[in-house]
Amino acid sequence: MELFINILGAIVTFLVAFIVGMTYGGLNRKITARVQNRKGPPFYQNFIDAFKLSSKETAIHHGIMHYLGPAFLMVSSVMTLLIVPVFTNNGWFPNLNFKGDLIFLIYIMTFGPLGMALGSGQTGNPNAAIGVTRGLSQMVGFEIPWVMALIALMIQYHTTSIEGLMEAQAQTGTWFMFSSPFAFIAAILAMFGMFRYSPFDIVSAPTELASGPASENGGKYLFVMMSSGSVFTFAKLTLYVDLFLGGAANLPVLLLKTFALYLIPILYGMTTPRYRTEQAIRWFWGWPSFFGLLAIIQAVIL
């Protein structure tokens, strides 16, 4: 019975993540439009796009890996969502909440992109493969400051599980954002690469790579990729809130915190043109890694 409730909770979490992620995507488009002095699409435009894509015919596949590529991506997003605790006290809807920890999370987050990379590789479109190698290169870039920030937290509080870190925040009463500011800065800077918004949108690179790995995927493939992206956005933002902003006890607080975090990469991206791949990598190995190093030093000293 408990398992049943847990599974039900997981499905509800998934739906909430889907809706919130899609809405955030729509708001992103709206905000971008307002910054560019346009009226912009309605905030629910992403839902319309998603439903349209799902109602589109998908008559072709380039082979079994291409067919399964978006499913790989979805697995990774959903697994990330199921590992991240959504609420501090597991409130309204219980999640599955596996016994996993941050290292596991980092690796399960790479599972999907690699599966998708195989799928887009099988299409034989050169743009797709170029996009994939760019994405993997960028990942090597931003994972360094991100892991530095996480390790700083881990060694300071002697736990590697997300729940343990949340408990530590609850006990000390301060958010890690204030108690470990360098780790927070490094993690936020790594987030730019994770979200792949404007200066770091070298993977899909509109007008340059013809949308990169997604270039042969239309219709339902794209629908699954889009919803996976939305769920992933929500999961990542929730993870940041859990780690640095003390978690959230209920939905409005969660939405407030996640949206505040979400604004950072969006607003940064609007004013910055795209980097080249090696510039992006070196950017992440510059100041973000320096802050990560400071975070580790702080954690060792304290």
């Binding site: 596949h61 599955l96 596991f104 399960i108 479109n125 493969a129 170029i130 090696e278």
Partner: protein, 615 residues
């Protein structure tokens, strides 16, 4: 205990019989070869008891053979991978030249590795070590010629290692008057400090060569890529583990007694980390699959060395688990390359593309092996990686863990390159004729791939023997406090539960794979890789659209400064320097009697001048 003799007699006799059976018929040769390996393997697991030692005295020296739990763990790698590779070899060597030579050396290698594991004294250890080196050297020069001096390089480094080991053995004997490993370990704490430092260094040099540790790794890319692929899977999978085997024994039994042991550990751990990082970067650069896997082997052995060197329980567990995993996935990957080489005739990524629909089973095993290599759950590689990270973090190696993390993230690039280069991309007309490899080659690969998938959820299968081996070396049992059958703990008490993870990954995957397209896979139509959105242009038959040249160029540009110089270059410069030094020495002998007279005169003058100082 006579079974052990019998096993070695079977190995030796089988090797000689196989060599000469080639004259009678190739099928007979295959059968004798397989019977030797498989027969000896089954005899070993059926008839040899653990911790049952026997001694004999040829020429007044006491030699002891027998196997303990720790050796038994490595025998799993040697004999398991060895028998699968033997089955694979039968398919691989079909229609190739010098089969007798290959089979003979193959059997000798397996025998030598088993001999290393069972020998409890330094003399037989050294003899088997040399047999292993010789047989693998003969495999490296299998093609008959040693044009690029790859075999020579391997042999020189092995010889350096062997001399180091021999020197250490002589030093040990001069103190203890015995060759038994047990006695050496017992006597070690009573030795003088300088000997306590030098003996491990000499041993570690010998083991570091075989384990391809930086800076002793330069032989590995050439040797791994020039020996036949069926043997390379054993070479990289099992033979390199002999270095790890020796290293663990030295580290655990000797260095932990040493007060300054922490320096040994830290140096080794950092060397391992650097090996991992640089090996990964060089692997990304390779366009040849053999070279790529060779560098990747070096990198993976770097992880193992790091795990073993930090020396905590979790670190040793991680290192040894990764050793088993490495034997599995790197064995599989070299077999995959061998299958592709046999079917297409080349192993270059820029030539072969789009084999996924022609060689589906090869792709399947390559995919699982790559997932395990990259350390992505739910396969076994993740278990090892997780334990390694947790071991590093909980034992305060903060910068090392970032280096290791960098290496394993960058490894995704070459992982993708391997899969994409061979199996993905455009399907060219040139490779239309390619068929799936024969069953004898496919079955071992798929078996190993499936075993890796099983280990991802039930790592206890391998962690149990590792635990027994560690207990044998003097550790407390780690069962239930660092791992359970499918649960992993770190020393802070955090845990990862693996089994439900597997179930949910599979469930979610199946769910979305079905939902993805309402009509299902059959409802969609296959379109060829020429039917892509290329601005409306239809690519011609011979138009190559595959992206394989300069694969990760931006990344390599970003890390360019690190890769400017190869360590190989330093060795070459050292050799050149020696050569010019000897050239200078040679000038002394001019062949002119007058010059020699001057030498004599100068010598006499110097002796007279400095006679007070000198005498």
């Amino acid at each position: 205990m006579a079974t052990l003799y019998l096993i070695f007699i079977i190995f030796l006799g089988g090797a000689i019989l196989t060599y000469y059976a080639g004259k009678l018929g190739s099928v007979l040769q295959d059968i004798i070869f397989l019977a030797t390996i498989l027969g000896a393997t089954s005899l070993f697991y059926a008839g040899v008891h653990i911790n049952d030692f026997m001694s004999f005295n040829p020429g007044g020296i006491t030699l002891t053979w027998g196997i303990n739990y720790f050796g038994w763990l490595f025998s799993l790698i040697v004999l398991g991978l060895g028998s699968l590779a033997a089955v694979y070899s039968v398919g691989y060597m079909k229609g190739k030249k010098r089969r007798g030579y290959f089979y003979f050396n193959f059997i000798l290698s397996i025998m030598a590795m088993l001999g290393i594991l069972v020998s409890q004294d330094l003399i037989s250890f050294f003899i088997f070590w040399e047999i292993m080196t010789w047989s693998s050297y003969l495999m490296v020069i299998y093609n008959g010629k040693d044009d690029q001096k790859l075999g020579l390089k391997y042999f020189i480094f092995s010889a350096i290692g062997a001399y180091a080991m021999l020197m250490a053995i002589v030093m040990v004997h001069s103190v203890t008057n015995t060759f038994l490993i047990g006695n050496m370990i017992e006597a070690y704490p009573q030795m003088s400090l300088s000997w306590q430092i030098w003996i491990p260094i000499l041993f570690l040099t010998a083991f570091g060569v075989k384990a391809a540790m930086m800076p002793l790794h330069v032989w590995a890319p050439g040797a791994y890529s020039s020996s036949p692929m069926a043997y390379t899977s054993v070479f990289s999978g099992a033979l390199s583990k002999m270095g790890i085997y020796g290293m663990v024994i030295i580290l655990v039994t000797m260095i932990s007694h040493l007060p300054q042991g922490i320096w040994f550990r830290e140096t080794l751990a950092w060397l391992g980390g650097l090996t991992a990082a640089l090996g990964t970067l060089w692997a990304i650069k390779q366009d040849d699959a053999k070279k790529l896997l060779a560098y990747s082997s070096i990198a993976q052995l770097g992880y193992i060395i790091t795990g073993v060197a930090i020396g905590t329980e979790l670190g040793l567990l991680a290192g040894l688990f990764l050793a088993v995993m490495h034997a599995l996935f790197k064995g599989t990957l070299f077999m995959v390359v061998g299958a592709i080489e046999k079917q297409t005739g080349t192993t270059n990524f820029t030539e072969v593309t789009g084999l996924i629909r022609k060689m589906p089973w090869t792709f399947f095993s390559a995919l699982l092996a790559i997932i395990a290599l990259a350390g992505i759950p739910p396969l076994g590689g993740f278990v090892g990686k997780w334990m390694l990270y947790e071991a590093l973090i909980t034992s305060n190696h903060y910068l090392l863990v970032i280096l290791i993390f960098f290496a394993s993230t960058a490894a995704f690039l070459y992982c993708y390159k391997f899969l994409f280069g061979f199996f993905m991309g455009q399907e060219e007309k040139e490779w239309e004729h390619v068929k799936e490899a024969p069953a004898t080659m496919v079955v071992p690969m798929v078996l190993m791939a499936l075993f890796m998938a099983v280990l991802g959820s039930w790592p206890g299968i391998i962690l149990n023997p590792i635990n027994n081996g560690l207990v044998d070396l003097g550790f407390v049992s780690t069962y239930k406090h660092l791992w359970d059958t499918s649960i992993l703990f770190n020393s802070w008490g955090n845990q990862v539960v693996l089994k439900p993870l597997l179930y949910s990954v599979v469930a979610i995957f199946v769910f979305f794979a079905i939902v993805l397209i309402w009509k299902g896979f059959k409802g969609t139509r296959y379109v060829s890789t020429k039917d892509i959105s290329s601005s409306g242009e239809v690519p011609g038959e011979n138009e190559n659209l595959t992206f394989s040249l300069g694969f990760a160029q931006p990344f390599l540009r970003a890390v360019g400064p690190v890769m400017k110089r190869q360590i190989d270059r330093y060795y070459t410069e050292f050799a050149d320097g020696l050569e010019s030094f000897f050239e200078f020495l040679r000038r002394i002998y001019t062949g002119n009697g007058q010059t020699y007279a001057i030498y004599v005169f100068v010598f006499v003058v110097i002796v007279l001048l400095f006679k007070d100082v000198l005498f």
